[in-house]
Symmetry: C3
C-alpha cells in the first residue's frame, strides 16, 4: 500500500458515516482487526470477528451501530450500516488518492489501425495492437501489449490490464475491468465426428458467433470466454469472474453472478442472475441454473438446478489411512 495519510474528518466527509472521536486523528493504512496497529483504520465486517474488537489496536474502527458501545469504549469509531461496503468504498477512495492518475494518450509504439475509432481521453499502452474497425469508448484504458481485434467494442471507461486479448467482433460494456492474460472470443470447442464416413477424426465447426459482455463486468487473469458457435456467448451486467475460469461457447451468465477461480462452465449452460459459484466447481453443458443458486467450491453440477439455494457435492478429505479404508 502506498504511503499516505488521511484524517478521519476527511474520510467521513467523503464517504459518510458517523464519526465518534476527533476528526483530526490521522490514519496511514487500512488493516484487518488482527493486523491493525496504532496507525491503522480497521473495520468489523462480520459478527464472527467481534471478539477481536476489544483487543484491536487500530486508531479507529468502522462498525455497525450494534457494536457502538464496545467500539467507542476502545477509541475513535465510525458508525455506518454496512462496514464491509464502507470498507470497499474506502479502498477505492484510498486508491484514487494514493495511486498515480491513469495516463492518457497513445504510446508511440502501439499499433493502432487507422480505421479504429478512438474516443476521448483514451490510453493505449506500449506495444498494444488495435485492429481495423475496433471502437474504444471515452476513457478506455488499454494496457501494454494488449490486443483488440477487428470490430471489437470497448465501452466507456473499460480497462484492459496489460496483455489482454479481445477477439474480432466481441463487445464489452462500460466500466468493465479485464485482467492480464484473459482471452475473450477464442473459438468455442466444436467438432463433428467423421465416423459416418468411415474416417477417423473431427471436422471443425467454425464458430460464427461472438461474445457480448455487459457493463461493470470484471474478468480475472488468464480467464477464457469463448465465442458462440452460431449465436453469442453472453455475460450480463455486473458479473464478476475470478482467474483461470473457462466459459465455453453459447453460455449465458445472468446479471451480478460471481464465480471464484478455476471454475469451468461447459457449452450452452445458462446460469441465472445473482448466483455464486465456488472455486474449482464444474457445470456441465446445456444445464440451467435458476437465479440465486449458490454452488459450493469444487462441486460438479450434473443436472439443472431450478430452485434457489446452496448446493454442494464434495468428497470429504481425510488422512490417507482412513481414506483408503473407505
Amino acid at each position: 500500500m502506498s504511503h499516505a495519510f488521511f484524517t478521519l474528518g476527511e474520510i467521513v466527509t467523503e464517504l459518510g458515516g458517523d464519526l465518534i472521536g476527533s476528526p483530526e486523528v490521522s490514519v496511514f493504512k487500512i488493516a484487518g482487526l488482527n493486523q491493525a496497529d496504532e496507525q491503522s483504520l480497521s473495520f468489523l465486517s462480520s459478527s464472527r470477528y467481534a471478539s477481536q474488537l476489544t483487543t484491536c489496536r487500530a486508531a479507529c474502527v468502522i462498525v455497525s451501530p450494534q457494536y457502538r458501545e464496545i467500539a467507542v469504549a476502545r477509541g475513535p469509531t465510525i458508525l455506518c450500516p454496512d462496514p464491509y461496503l464502507y470498507f470497499a468504498r474506502l479502498t477505492q477512495w484510498w486508491s484514487r488518492k494514493t495511486r498515480p492518475p491513469s495516463p492518457v494518450g497513445i504510446h508511440p509504439s502501439a499499433m493502432v489501425h487507422s480505421l479504429a475509432l478512438i474516443g476521448e481521453g483514451v490510453f493505449i499502452g506500449p506495444l498494444a495492437v488495435i485492429e481495423a474497425g475496433a471502437v474504444l469508448g471515452d476513457g478506455v484504458f488499454v494496457g501494454a501489449q494488449s490486443y483488440v481485434g477487428p470490430l471489437a467494442h470497448l465501452g466507456a471507461r473499460t480497462r484492459l490490464a496489460p496483455r489482454v486479448v479481445i477477439h474480432e467482433g466481441c463487445s464489452l460494456g462500460a466500466d468493465c475491468i479485464v485482467h492480464s492474460g484473459a482471452v475473450i472470443g477464442a473459438d468455442g470447442f466444436g467438432f463433428a465426428s467423421k465416423r459416418s464416413e468411415q474416417q477417423p477424426g473431427w471436422e471443425k465447426i467454425e464458430q460464427l458467433g461472438s461474445v457480448r459482455i455487459g457493463d461493470e463486468v470484471e474478468i480475472g487473469a488468464n480467464t477464457c470466454i469463448d465465442r458462440g458457435s452460431l449465436g453469442d456467448t453472453v455475460i450480463e451486467q455486473g458479473v464478476k469472474l475470478d482467474n483461470l475460469i473457462q466459459i465455453a461457447h453459447n453460455v449465458r451468465i445472468g446479471a451480478y453472478t460471481a464465480m471464484a477461480g478455476c471454475v469451468g462452465i461447459a457449452g450452452s449452460a445458462e446460469i441465472g442472475a445473482h448466483c455464486t459459484v465456488g472455486g474449482g466447481a464444474v457445470i456441465l453443458g446445456h444445464l440451467q441454473l435458476a437465479d440465486h443458486v449458490h454452488i459450493s467450491a469444487a462441486s460438479v453440477v450434473t443436472r439443472s438446478i431450478l430452485k434457489p439455494g446452496q448446493y454442494s457435492g464434495i468428497f470429504p478429505i481425510d488422512n490417507n489411512l482412513s481414506w483408503e479404508k473407505n
Copy 2:
C-alpha cells in the same frame, strides 16, 4: 455472424445433399431448430431434437433420410446421411465466404530473425517475434504478438492466433490451430529433493526434451503443453484440446483424442487414440489409457484403464442440507 445470404442451390452444389424444394430459396444465417427464423437454415443433429422439427420456422432444414417425411411436410429440406457433419462443413464454407480472406505478408513491426526460414504465403502479424532457426511452412499464419522460439517448426497452413507462445525446438504439423494464450514447450515440472544431503529444497531437472505435435491438431486458449524431460511430449495427429488444459511433460496423446476444458494430464501419462476426456477431469501420472476410453467430466483417473468404454467418478451434487447429512 456476418451478414450475407446464399441460395439453397449454391449450398448443395458446394456441399452435396439432396435438396427437396426450390434452389432459389435464400438463407441469411445458420441456426439451431429452436432459434431458427424464416431466414435461417437449420439442421437436426440428433433424434433427441426431432420433436422440434415440426414447429421449426427455418427456411430449410438439413435432416437424415429417416426424417424426410416430417421435414418435407414443413418445407424445403436437404437430405444427407449425417446432418451434423454437413452442418460442420457448412460453417466452414460460410466462414470462407463471409470472413475477409486471411492476409499475407510480414507486418513491419514484427521481429523476424534473419536466420528464420519463412515459406510462401505466410502472414506474420504485428509485434510477433520469430527467433533464429524457426521454420514456418507455406501458408502459415502467425497472429499478432505471438512468439515462435528458436528452431521451432510450424507445418504448412498452421495458424497461431494472437499471443501464442511456441518455445524453442517444438514442432507442429500441418493444418494445426493454436488459440491465444496457449504455451507450447514450457519446462516440465521436474525437481529432485535435496533431502539426502540434509538440505531443504529442490534441485531443478532441466527439461531437455521438446514437444512434437502432429497434423490437424487444435489447441485451446491458455492451454499448456510442457516439453519433455529427456524425450518429447507427443500429441498425435487430429487431437483436439479445449481451453485451459494442462499437459505435463512426457505425456503422449494418441490420434484423434479430444479433451474438454480444464483437463489436467500429469507427467508421463499415455492416452490412447480416439479417446475423449470430459471437462475438468484429472489423469494422474504414469498411467495408461487404452484407445477408445471415454472419461466423464470432472472424474479423476487414478489407475490405468486398459479396456475401452465410458468411465465416471463424480460425487453427486445435492442441496446443502442433504449433502451435510450424508
Copy 3:
C-alpha cells in the same frame, strides 16, 4: 536434446561420484532405463525400477551403492548416494554445455523506461516492456514480450520466459524462474455486496497489497498469483509451482512447498513449509496447513490440517454401469 557427447571422465570430474569403468567411454544422451540405448547415460532413481537394470542397454548407469554389484555386472557404473539428485545436476550441466549461452543486452525493440534501474549483465528481449521504477538485478533475463510493471523488483539472475506479466510493485527474489503466460500481481477477487442498500451487485475492493516472492521460486506457465487486498500475498523461498495454478490474494505459501498443475488456493489460506499439493487439488479460503502436509491430487481441502501427513479425498472412478449403480 541437443547433439553433443561427453566422456564419463568429464562427468565425474564435474559432478562427483565413483566411476567404475573406463573414463574414456562417451555418452551422447541421458535416458531412462527403458529408453536407454548404447549411447545413453542412464540412472536408477527408485528401487521400483531395479528390475530394469540388468536389461538396460545404457553405456553407463548411475546407481546408489546398494546396486553396485548388479550394475557393475552389466558395465560402466557411476556410484553416488542419491542417483536422482545426481541426475538433476547432470541435466543442469548438460544444459549449460549444450544450450547456447544466455544472451546479454537490451533488444532495440524493448520499451525500457528511463527511470527503470537495470543491473549488470541483464538481457531484455524483443518487445518487452519495463516500466518506470522497476528494478532488475544483475544477470536478470527478461524474455520477449514480457511486462515488468512500475516499481516491480526482480532479484539477481531471475529469469522471465517470454510473455510473463509482473505487475506494479511486486517483488521476486534472486534465482527465480517464471514461465510464459504467468501473471503475478493481478487484482485479487474482492467485492462487497450492495445488498444492504437494496441495490443489486458488487462494489469493488481495490487490492492495495502486492506480491512478495522469495529466492529460488519457480512459477509455471499461465499460473496466476494475485496481489493482496491490504497486506501482501507471500511465496517463500524455494517454492515450486507448476502450470495453471491459481493463488488467490493474501495467501501465504511456506518455504520449499511444491504444487502440481491446476491447483487452486483460495484467499487467505496459509500453507506451511515443505508441503506438497497434487495436481487439481483445491484448498479453500482462510484455512491453515501445517508444515509437511501432503495433499493428494484432485482432493478438496475443506478444513485446516494441523498435523503433518498425507491426506486424500477422491471419488473413485469406475466404468459407467458400476458407477451409476452406486
